[in-house]
């Protein structure tokens, strides 16, 4: 049984939940596997910390809350501080390299993949809003949570009609960046 526990955390507005939802959709709809997503927010309507716990599995998932994460996507320093302890020696840490500074709390064996996602979204696509798509593409390349195609289909079916193109573009940018990273 292949099961992956993924934590995505960042600030409101970074598209954290949407990101988690696309992973869940990819798995449960486009791969006919199972997924759960549990979300949490601060009390503020805006600007508060926001976290998604995503689980993807071949079998139904009873308990949707993460004890240790297989993959942790850290999109802000606060997020990193809060959940770095969840990492295991074989976890994958994906982070926004211009917003998050790592330290020695990352387990030695954990893989780390940083990407300046905000800048890529702003500079390459010209829209800060696709930041989460960049991150998703990147994630797709550096992990094997779900198939690339399932993920791309989930992106298309999740974004507002008419915006598929540039969202996928952002996704692909992130994916490409990841491939480079791995290669390097």
């Amino acid at each position: 049984m292949s099961k992956k526990d993924i934590r995505i955390c960042g600030l409101g507005g970074q598209g954290v939940i949407m990101g988690g939802m696309i992973i869940g959709k990819s798995a449960s709809i486009y791969e006919d596997r199972y997924a759960t997503l549990v979300q949490s927010f601060g009390p503020e309507a805006r600007g508060s910390e926001c976290s998604a716990q995503v689980m993807v599995s071949d079998e139904p998932i009873a308990f949707p809350y993460i004890r240790k994460s297989d993959v942790f996507v850290a999109l802000s320093q606060g997020a990193y501080e809060k959940f770095v302890h969840e990492l295991k020696d074989d976890s994958v840490l994906v982070y926004e390299s211009e917003l998050v500074a790592l330290d020695d709390r990352v387990p030695a064996g954990a893989k780390r993949f940083g990407i300046p996602g905000t800048r890529i979204a702003e500079e390459d696509i010209g829209r800060r809003i696709v930041f989460n798509m960049v991150m998703l593409g990147f994630l797709a390349s550096v992990t094997d949570i779900v198939e690339l195609e399932a993920m791309r289909r989930a992106v298309s079916s999740s974004v507002p009609p008419g915006t598929e193109k540039f969202n996928l573009e952002a996704f692909d940018k992130g994916y490409a960046y990841g491939l480079e990273k791995i290669a390097s």
């Binding site: 009390p43 503020e44 309507a45 805006r46 600007g47």
Partner: protein
Amino acid sequence: MSGTPQNPVEKLLRTERMPHIWCPGCGIGTSVNCFARALEQANIDYKNLHVVSGIGCSGRVAGYVNVDSFHTTHGRAIPFATGLAMARPEAKVVVYSGDGDLFAIGGNHLIHAARRNIDMTVICVNNFTYGMTGGQVTPTTPYSAKASTMPYGNFEDTFNLPNLVDACGAVFVARWTIYHVRQLTRSMTKALNTPGFSFIEVLSPCPTLYQRRNKLGDGVMMVQYFKERSTIENGANTADVALGFQGDIVVGEFVERERPTFIQNYNTRMEQVLGDAFVPYEGVK
């Protein structure tokens, strides 16, 4: 720094609770500035000032002001405040809450408190939506505006708040936007100094929900709209001040009338009927 002057609002705040939870560009805080200044101008002793809120973003005001303050239940700030005002006739009781809280679920209490002329000032932050719960339609959401429960645009008609409150006999009724900080402050001062049921509607931006959903830009853009489309018409007939979606806004002090307060009425009547047998009502002694 002892030499540093202080923001007049500072004295009113529970500073240990700052920063507050309101969004960037939300107007609620602006109204609180005006309130702080009005308290100074009206010469209110903080010890005798009590603030009561219902539930909502605006309802959080009670939690941030450093006076006896009560965060009650959704829609019920006014009846709580009524009891409080009865117990403390020498105090100034202010109800600070949102349009949904005061006019949706709380509508009945509002009209009855106005009818009875309970001695309180009601400040209604009207942001045209339920902020706290994510932007649903309220009785003030303008026709055609979108809301999370009106995804295709609101099709209901709104209340004209000043008119409704006027019809129930409020002794002071004003409307301002948070662009009108000085005027709002002045009206608040007046309301605080007017015995009986006074009411101030404060139009305020909710960039996060109302505006985002309606593509109306940020806080500044809403305040700019308030600035551009408002006309001051003191004494305007309240029947004529209804609001439409991004339409013209009539602001001003609409109603000033004299009526004995609830407690005054009580004391007068009982005195008349019972004479010496009556023990004049004074609340807590």
